[in-house]
Every structure is written in structure tokens, then in C-alpha cells.
Amino acid sequence: MNQFFSSPLSSPQWLLFALVPPAIVALYFLKLRRQPLEVPSTYLWRRTIEDMHVNSLWQRLRQNLLLFLQLLLIGLLMLACLRPSWRSQSAYQDRLIFLLDNSASMSATDVGPNRLEAAKKKIDDLIEQMDHGDAAMLISFNDSPYVNQPFTTNKGALRKALASIEPTSRTSDVGEALRIAAGLANPGRSGEASNPDDVATADAKPADVFVLSDGGFRSVPEFSWGNLRPIYVPIGEATAANLAIVAFQSQGNPSKPDQMEAFVEVENFSEIDQEVELSLSLDDNLLDASKITIAAGKMQGTSFSFNQIESGTLKIELEIDDDLAADNVAYAAINPGRRAKVLMMTDGNDAMEMAFGTSSAAKLAEVTMMSTADLASDDYQQIASEGSHDLIIYDRCSPDDLPRCNTLFLASVPPGDRWVQEEEAIGPIIIDVDGSHPLMKYLAFGDVQIARSQPVDGPQGAQILMDSDAGALMMIAPREGFEDAVLGFPIMTTDDDGNAAANTTWPRRTSFPLFCKNLLEYLGNSGGASQQLNVLPGAVVPLRFDEAGDTISVTSPIGATTKISRNRNNAYIYTQTSHVGIYDVNLDKEKVASRFAVNLMDPIESRIVPQEVFETAWNKIEGEEQFKPSRRDAWRWILFFALIVLIAEWYIYNRRVYL
């Protein structure tokens, strides 16, 4: 038909339908079988109807009221079958892709019952108005996308898939979801895009992409829409208020060895100052509580002191009823200390040896030294291949193959062509340090001078930890569950005479022992009081236990137990960190051997005010705040009206007296 009508009936069906009204009229004229009734006399009746004939047209109409009602009913049914609707001028294409954010911030309750349900309702409306033959695809995404329903014309399947989408506590990243959505619309090329003879591998299938999200994405996706037409529907109220625990950590009190300290930082994402109560509990027993006032948009920290404990579960709770509840609680697991096993391949590094030689370092790790000549020895080979150590430091040397553990390279790079050492730079000036990385936390480099350096360039995915005017001086990159860190300058060097000499003033600054501590704690997976694995929901957790068997089991906060086998890197990889809370690790024994906490300490998720603009690397899409499905079907109302007509007809047929 046209854009106002989209009939589900075919022409022959219409033809059959069209026969009904004439049939009704014909039946009326053919029959009208009146029921005979014997009366004392028709004398008065006859006189009555003689009077009535005076205004006969109206009488005739009234007499055929049932006929007209029946014709009206059929007319309404036919109109309903035409499926009339109001539709805006910008009709959607016949392929729709729904990207539904189900990250933690979508659980906010600023729109009832929560944002996810509100978004699902909108998608449901859109599914409802899909035309016959329109295909749609449903993708839910948080930190990773999931195709809930591939392209289908089956509205029931779409609705079923839609209903199955549950809120999660995960962070959000729309990039991969967009790439999945683009799969059909922007088909891949057979070869290089610049090749003029290249042909597309498939016909492009344009589609409308509905992004239903609050826009709190981890990163701006590098994505080109191509044949997709994006429609961004921001979900949530601009007035949404939220307070969130953005940091929670506990560690031994350096000044009082028998005390521990817990630090908590709360950020106020609302527009008014708020006073909140924080309560700290250990294994569900209240330890302490404190009241803090946080200015609008600001962060406020506080600390709690309590007696040293060997292991347990700390829980901090924000006593407030805000729009997002998931970030009002945070957990920290305190595990019995574990000493890291560190091997240092060096021909002499006084600074580090001194740092590792302190009693504090000894608590954290057991550091063994080997000379660079030992790289070829059987001992080293065994250590490297077994993965029995947590960290190997290569001071101005490089092995033939990377070991099965984390590594730190000082003034050298891992073997292979992934890492590149650039030209030597004299006296580089440190520009920036990534203080958010655990390896670099609490470090200040303002007074550090470096004599010689060789800036490094890491493989894809490498993160720059220290940047200088000459290039990156420190980078870290993941490798098969391990991490490789590379420092672009030596701590110690040898002068022309072969004597050891300092290459930098760093070892004399306080940041150096702190760096060594971070090194042992982070790359060495060391324990100590601050050994707390703190992961975001959805993150992958590598677990290491020297004494464990081939499998361990992990119990999630909701009570689901998962058995994990040791992988070839001597680690247990746990992936099901969807829920916020404490995860217990059992080493095939009844007793809980270790715990780790999953917390939604993510300012991006906690900043729940919806973004008005959806920004990709090359486009900005204005959110359609007042988005309403533009097509409004009228057939329900018409059917409802037809039902009323039917009831009226039934009533009149039975109680004609009253008309």
C-alpha cells in the first residue's frame, strides 16, 4: 500500500473480505424474518405505525440500525486490516540494528523502573512498528558485545531476545558492538582498500542503528558509520544524581605495624553538596563509621584505622539512596601475605640490589640474583620454562626466548621484533608519568635526571608509563597472560674503565624504592597487606598458587562455583567476574585459600548523567532525547472501537426497546 497503510492481507484475501458487506446487505433484504406473535388486536398497532410513517426516513434508518452497525463493524475490521498508522516523514529503513547498553550505569533508577527497562520498552515499541518483512538485529553490549538475536523478521524472536537481556555490573565499550553492527552494512573488501580493482565481497546492506545507552563509554570508538545510519537515543535524566565509591584500599599502617588502614574515596556526581555516612565492616561485622561532606562534583577521601588482620573481607558502604546503587558499596579482600619469587639477571646493579635487600622488600619477595652469563645455564632455562618465578629482571641483557613469567627489561628490549629500541638520547626530560598505573603509583619524577637513554617503542597494546621529550622511556605490554615492562634507560652503567657508575639520579630519590616496591607488588604478584586484587566487573583475573593442584574452584558472590584448570603459563584464568563482591578461591580444599574483590570503581560508569552527544572518532551524533517511535499503529484502537460497536449491536439486538 503506501506509508500510511501496510496491510498484512494479500489481494485475494481482500477480495474475499470485500464480499462480506454486500452479503450482509443481501441477507438483510432477502430475509428479515419477523417472528410471528399473536395479539388481541392489531387495531392499535396499525394506528401506531400509520402515525410513525410520517417521519419514515429516520424510522427506516432506525429499523435497520442493526444492519448499519454490522456494516460499520465490518468496515472497522477492514480498516484495522489495512493497518493504518501515523508515521513521520523519516521512515526507517527495512534493516534495523538495536544496540542496547546493559552496563552498570544502565541500572540507574532515574527513569523508572530503571534505564535498561526504559530502553527495552523503546526497543519493544520499535519492534512493534516494524513493517512486514523488515529485519532487525539485537546486540547488547557492556565491556563486550553479545548478539542476542541475529537479523530476523520474526518479531517474537526479537522480543524474546530482548526480554532475555539482563542488567550487568560491567563497564561499557561500544566499539566492538558497532563493528559487529557494521558487519553487513559495510562489507569487508577482498583486498586493500586503495586498490582500484578491488571489489566488495558482498553487497552493502544499509541499516538504521539505534544506540540506546547513557553514553558513558570507556573510550571513543574509532569507527566509521559507512552505510549505517546512526540514531542515538540517550537514556536517562540529566538530573540523575549519584554518589560513588571510586577508590577503596586497605594496607598496613607503616607507622604502626599492628594497625591497618583503609582508604576510601567518594565522588559526588550530583549537582548539590551531600553529606553521607560511610560504614566499614569486616566479615559483615561493623568496624567503624564516619560521616563526610562532599561538594558537588568533587571527590572526598577518608580513612579508617583498625587492628591488623591476617585475612578477611572488608566492605565499605555508602548510606545513601541515589540513582545508582551498584557503586555505593565496595569490597576489599585481605589475603595472607604471599612472597613473590623474583630473579634478577644482572652484572651488578647496586641500586636495585640495595632496594631489594631491605627487610620490607624481603617481606614482599625472595629475590635471587644471577649474572647475565647464566642466561645459557640449565638453571636459568628451567626457571624460565617452568614458570616457577613471578618476575625476571633483565638488566642490560635479553634472553633468547621470553620466560613464562612477567619481565622487566632495563635498557634492553625483549627478543623479537615487537619491541624496538630507538636512537640514543642524551639527557631526556621526563614529561609525563602515568600515575594511574599500579607500577607508577605514588611516584614523582620531577627531580630525576637521566644521562643516557634509549627510548623504546612497544608492540600494539603497549602502554606508555613514562614519556620524555625524546620518546617513551618506559612501556608495559601484555603477553599471553604476562606483562613485559621495558625501561628505556639503565639505572647503572659502566664507564670506559669498566667501573660501575650511576646513569641517573633516580636511585637517590624516594621514588626509586617506591618503584621497587610497586615492581615487587605488581609484576611480582606479591602479597603483603596491600596485596589485593581489585578488578572491574567483567575483567579477567589471573590467579597464581604455587601449592595448588591442577584445578582450583572459585565461588562468586551469587554462589556459583567454577572449576578452573591450570593453564600452561602456570596460572588459573578466571573470567566470570560479572558481579560486584568478594570471590572465594578454594584450592580443592574446604578452606578458602584466597579472596579477591570485584568492584565497580569506575568513574565513567558512576557519572550517570547521560551524554547528549554520541561521539565516534569521526562523527558526532546528537542524541534524540525526545525520541519516540514515530510510527503509531492505529489498528488496536480501531479494533477496540469495533468491539464497542459489537457490544452495542448485541445490546441493541437484545434490548431494542431502548432505542
Partner: protein, 277 residues
């Protein structure tokens, strides 16, 4: 109770009601001058002795009253609950019994009776059973037009008295000519129109083919609220027309719904109309 006539009629036999004629009762009425030929037995000799003039003593005469009840027994009377005919028979019996008790001459007939012998003339309380026996034999089904029925009645009964016509007046030829015929008779006429509730408030719905029970005349109607309203107006006009017609001609008209019990009708409605006292 007694039946009352607004006219004073000459009875045939001695009855219990005062007559215009002077007669032989014990009640003194008047004196008048003697004229030759008068019965010497009624001369007041005491007065003659005193005044030396002949006066005749007149006594009040007591006579009987002729009471006729004319029942319409056409098919149309066989409707309602109780049927209009049954109601008419009860009414006739009630009025007839009052008459019998007062030694009136009671005669109950139907419109269709054309033989003189068919309806007995009754007198005296002991005739009650004959009256009821006769009423039991009255059956519906004799469809005689009102005019013919009244004409036949008038031919049979030339006497004077009270006539109570009990009918539904549903005659397609109209009641007017029949009533005019009655006016010419020297009768005190009471018309009691009996209607059943289904005629006053018809409870019908739907598309109907109404069949007249007497002449099988067919009228097709589609029942609607306005139709029923108009029917009721037509009925009211019909009733008012009959009442007006009777009033103008010195006849008394009463509408009786079969819902109203006969005893109430007689003791209350007809008493108000002056038929009974």
C-alpha cells in the same frame, strides 16, 4: 350494596326500590283529590269526615330494577392473566350478585347470544347458582362485531334498566355506531373497558409479525422505544376518545385493567362512578 340507576325506571314486578309510581307499600307518600274511577279503598275516610272532601291516600310503590350485563366474548378477550373474559365474567357476577340480593331482575348476556333462551333472567338471591352456571358456559370464540352484538341485544331486550357493557372495545369497525345505537335505547349504560397489562404496557422486542387473533390481520413492526411510546400515546388517545364519546352521550365509562382485582374495582372504582352504592 345496591345497584343504582341515575334514571328511575318502571319495573315490572314489585321490588325493593322506590318507584316514581305510587303504589301499595306501607310508606305514605301524598294525598290527592279523588277523581271518579279511583279505587275507593285508598280514600282517606278520616279526612273526609273532617273536611267533607274526598282525598285519596297515595303510598310509595317499590319496584324491581332491570340489570343487564353484556359481556364481549370475542377471541380478543381471551388474553391477559387472568384473561379479560374471565375478568369480565367475575365483574358481571359481582354486579349480578348485588342485583340479586336487592331482588332486582338480573340478566347476563354475551354479545354473541342471539337466542333469548340462552341467557336466563334471574331474580332473587337463590338464583346465584344459576347465574354462575351460566357464566361457566360462556366461552371465547364468537367473534361478533360490537354493533351487531348490541343491536341483537337491543332487539331482544326492549325493557329499561341498567346496562353494563364489559368489552375491550377493540373493534376495527369502531365502537361509535354501536354506542349510538345504545343511546337510542332508554338504558342507563355503563361501559367498562377491560384491558390486559400486555395491551397497556406491551413487553415485546425485536422484529415482529403481529397477527390479529380474530381476523388474522398481519402488522409488521420493529420494536423500538419511539414505537412503544407512540403505541402508548395511541392507546391513551383511544381510551380518552371512548371516555369523551360516552360522556357526551350520558353514558358512564370506566377503564379496568385486569391487574386491578375485581372486588376493588366494584367496591371502590364503580362506587365512585355511582353504579353501586
Amino acid at each position: 350494596m345496591e345497584l343504582v340507576s341515575r334514571k328511575i325506571f318502571r319495573g315490572r314486578m314489585k321490588g325493593e326500590r322506590r318507584s316514581r309510581r305510587k303504589g301499595q307499600s306501607v310508606e305514605f307518600a301524598d294525598f290527592r283529590n279523588y277523581v271518579p274511577g279511583d279505587d275507593l279503598r285508598f280514600i282517606d275516610w278520616n279526612l273526609y269526615a273532617r273536611l267533607d272532601k274526598l282525598f285519596l291516600k297515595l303510598f310509595l310503590e317499590e319496584e324491581d330494577l332491570h340489570f343487564y350485563a353484556l359481556i364481549d366474548n370475542s377471541d380478543s378477550m381471551n388474553f391477559g392473566d387472568p384473561t379479560k373474559l374471565q375478568y369480565a365474567k367475575q365483574l358481571a357476577a359481582a354486579l349480578g350478585f348485588i342485583g340479586l340480593c336487592r331482588a332486582d331482575r338480573v340478566r347476563i348476556e354475551t354479545l354473541s347470544s342471539n337466542k333469548v333462551s340462552s341467557a336466563p333472567t334471574l331474580r332473587g338471591r337463590q338464583s346465584l347458582w344459576r347465574m354462575t352456571d351460566y357464566l361457566d358456559t360462556v366461552e371465547p370464540g364468537d367473534n361478533v362485531s360490537l354493533f351487531d352484538g348490541i343491536k341483537n341485544f337491543s332487539l331482544r331486550n326492549s325493557g329499561k334498566g341498567i346496562l353494563v357493557l364489559i368489552s375491550d372495545l377493540m373493534d376495527k369497525e369502531g365502537y361509535e355506531s354501536a354506542f349510538r345505537y345504545l343511546v337510542s335505547q332508554q338504558l342507563d349504560v355503563y361501559v367498562i373497558q377491560v384491558l390486559s397489562d400486555e395491551e397497556v404496557h406491551p413487553n415485546v422486542t425485536g422484529d415482529l409479525r403481529l397477527v390479529d387473533c380474530e381476523d388474522a390481520d398481519v402488522t409488521e413492526i420493529t420494536v423500538s422505544k419511539p414505537l412503544l411510546n407512540r403505541y402508548e400515546r395511541t392507546l391513551a388517545a383511544f381510551v380518552d376518545g371512548a371516555k369523551e364519546f360516552c360522556l357526551r352521550r350520558g353514558m358512564s365509562y370506566t377503564l379496568a385493567n385486569t391487574d386491578v382485582p375485581v372486588d376493588k374495582l366494584v367496591s371502590s372504582y364503580l362506587r365512585r362512578r355511582g353504579l353501586v352504592r
